[in-house]
């Protein structure tokens, strides 16, 4: 009996690296050789992680992947947390790749739908971020990972700084299971500000022709916040944040939550809530939170990723943010998602559709946008054991073995920006499941996890309902004149209000007439810059003066 080779992966990796020796000087390859490097190190059928989340993109490497010879490199199985750039899909048109496991595809959702329909792309599955990260260590262990770094030193240590995001997670999955780690670097330097990823984990470094693509995704201009959003924000603060003593939380990235952030130093202050709510955050560094930070509301913020323009402000506030000794923030998407799921009392998000039972989805006809991280944070982690007042406040009192529950809040206006109802009998996602032949309906957040829905009409406290019928009636009561809302019976609404299952603004002591833009702590980007003492530097497209 021949002895099994227990290091075949390592042998294969070494063989590949040896064949690329002529292209390498130590770990370093030349910019112009990038296509040859990829053709030499990637083999047909490989599982390849291409770094692309919704902000930071390994754009030099993804562009190079469209130029490889499909005779040499084909049928790759791509693993990507976010399909964001056109070339992420061009490689399927070219035959370089054939299968995809992903999490989010918002910026390319139409083409993804088309490519699934015509068979150009086979989909393994659509995941949440955490699931996908997890599978990198279980059954989607990569052969090659292609990632981006800000700076690299001569030994190959990496600095990923502000936008570290998921780079360490991806690299770890390859580096310790004999995958090949290929890095594009914005800059080669003698000394790094700090080491985010040690050189021992890195196989090949290629200086990029230009810096990786980076988008300011979470910047919301307060000028675009409407009175309806302010009203909803006031209701949420009164009827949810205050009522449940919410201390630890994650906010979505829409204008609704921006409004809340800007109401804390004004409306929240009037209510005397400072120090009582919203102290510890898992959140990308949104500029609209600056006034609340400056007013002393916030104890700590951990971030999934960076946000363009916030660098200097964060460097000057290390008590609040997670900042290295060098003065730049360290973000981490995987740990951020864990924190958002397990360590936060509340998730506040938004969606495109909510059905009559309270399930919500952002998938619409012809657009398969995937999930991202919302289902992680917008679900009740049944493995949670630590207790807080907010979590306990949702504990049912009729069960001796009961435990608390996470607050999962959806904030939506009853009609979307396209003037179509957000509340519908059936989600488009049900049809999309058939079109794209998915195993499950792509629901973002399930009814059973949704504890509150806030609309411009009021709040439905779904966790208090005893039956699906009551849950539906509560949703109808705040669904406005959508087809779902029109079924609402005024007598039933009265009962639900008495039981505290539905609250209108007057039930919460919120005066609609106070829902004015002047109530926002900052009404323009300039105001935010002023709050930041000039430390916040808005990206060009948000600047009024340049």
């Amino acid at each position: 009996m021949t002895e099994r080779n227990w290091h075949s992966h390592r042998d294969a990796k070494n063989a590949r690296l040896s064949s690329a020796l002529s292209l390498l000087d130590g770990k370093f390859a030349k910019t112009k050789d990038v296509v040859k490097v990829l053709e030499t190190l990637i083999k047909p059928g490989d599982k390849v992680v291409l770094e692309g989340d919704n902000q930071k993109q390994a754009s030099f490497l993804s562009a190079a992947l469209t130029k490889v010879d499909p005779e040499k490199v084909h049928d790759l199985h791509m693993i990507m947390s976010s399909i964001s750039r056109p070339e992420h899909l061009d490689i399927f048109d070219l035959g370089v790749a054939s299968k995809m496991d992903f999490s989010f595809a918002g910026p390319q959702s139409t083409r993804v739908s088309q490519m699934i329909a015509d068979g150009t792309m086979k989909v393994g599955d659509i995941h949440t971020y955490l699931e996908l990260f997890g599978r990198l260590f279980i059954d989607l262990i990569p052969n090659v990972v292609l990632v981006a770094a800000d700076k690299v030193d001569r030994e190959g240590n990496l600095y990923t700084g502000f936008n570290t995001e998921e780079t360490p997670t991806i690299v770890e999955a390859a580096a310790f299971h004999d995958g090949i780690v290929i890095v594009q670097a914005n800059e080669v330097v003698d000394k790094l500000p700090r080491i985010d990823i040690p050189s021992g984990w890195v196989d090949v470094v290629i200086p990029a022709d230009k810096p990786y693509q980076l988008e300011p995704l979470f910047t919301r201009d307060p000028q675009a916040i409407t009175e309806l959003q302010i009203l909803m924000g006031m209701m949420a603060i009164r009827g949810i944040y205050e009522k449940h003593h919410v201390q630890t939380l994650n906010h979505g990235v829409g204008f609704n939550t921006s409004a809340i952030e800007l109401l804390l130093p004004t409306y929240g202050e009037q209510l005397g809530l400072k120090g009582k709510i919203c102290r510890n955050w898992e959140l990308n560094p949104t500029p609209t939170l600056i006034p609340a930070i400056e007013s002393g509301w916030v104890d700590s913020i951990h971030s999934f990723g960076g946000e363009v323009g916030m660098e200097k402000y964060i460097a000057a506030r290390p008590d609040i943010f997670f900042v290295g000794k060098d003065g730049t923030m360290r973000s981490n998407r995987a740990l951020g998602q864990v924190a958002g799921q397990y360590a936060c009392d509340m998730f506040v998000g938004s969606t495109l559709q909510i059905d009559q039972w309270g399930n919500s989805s952002t998938v619409t006809h012809g657009r398969l946008s995937g999930f991202g991280g919302a289902p992680n944070m917008g679900s009740n982690p049944t493995g949670r054991r630590h207790s807080t007042p907010a979590w306990q406040s949702l504990k049912p009192d009729d069960d001796p073995l009961a435990k608390g529950q996470k607050l999962v809040v959806q904030m939506v206006q009853t009609f979307g920006s396209n003037k179509k109802p957000v509340f519908v009998d059936h989600l488009d996602a049900e049809e999309v499941r058939k079109e794209a032949k998915l195993a499950n309906v792509p629901i973002m957040i399930y009814s059973e996890d949704t504890t509150h829905i806030v609309t411009e009409e009021g709040i439905a406290y779904l966790y208090k309902t005893d039956s699906m019928e009551e849950r539906k009636a509560a949703i109808e009561a705040i669904a406005g004149v959508t087809p779902v809302g029109l079924r609402s019976d005024p007598k039933e609404v009265k009962k639900l209000r008495e039981k505290g299952i539905v609250a209108l603004p007057e039930d919460l002591g919120v005066r609609r007439q106070n829902a004015k833009r002047s109530l926002l702590a900052a009404q323009t980007m300039d105001d935010i810059v002023e709050w930041s003492h000039g430390l916040y530097n808005p990206p060009a497209k948000f600047r009024s003066w340049s």
Binding site: L228, L231, T414, F415, E457, P490, P505, R511
Partner: protein, 97 residues
């Protein structure tokens, strides 16, 4: 441009004139006068939304049975904004002078 007229059998008498809202795109103004009958007259820039208006008004008056003369100038407000302005008018009635 479309003119719409609705009547309702409401119960709660109002005491004073109220004006809320603004003349701006995506918004509307509501003028509310004390009267013995409830009438709603709407001038709107967006045609084809009579059914939606009826639904918004029904829902509002189901919750707040205000008796008065409503004049509405609409500049393409969403149902949510219409409801906000109507409920703000309701609130203004209860304000102390």
């Amino acid at each position: 441009m479309e003119k719409l007229h609705f009547t309702y059998q409401n119960t709660k008498t109002i005491e004073k004139f109220v004006h809320v809202g603004v003349v701006a795109s995506g918004d509307l103004e509501v003028l509310l006068y004390p009267a013995d009958e409830t009438t709603v007259d709407i001038v709107t820039g967006s045609d084809g939304f009579k059914e939606v208006w009826k639904n918004v008004l029904n829902r509002f008056f189901d919750r707040y049975s205000l008796k008065g003369k409503f004049i509405i100038h609409d500049f393409g407000a969403t149902p949510g904004v219409v409801n906000l302005r109507l409920t703000q008018a309701m609130e203004a009635l209860n304000d102390e002078e």
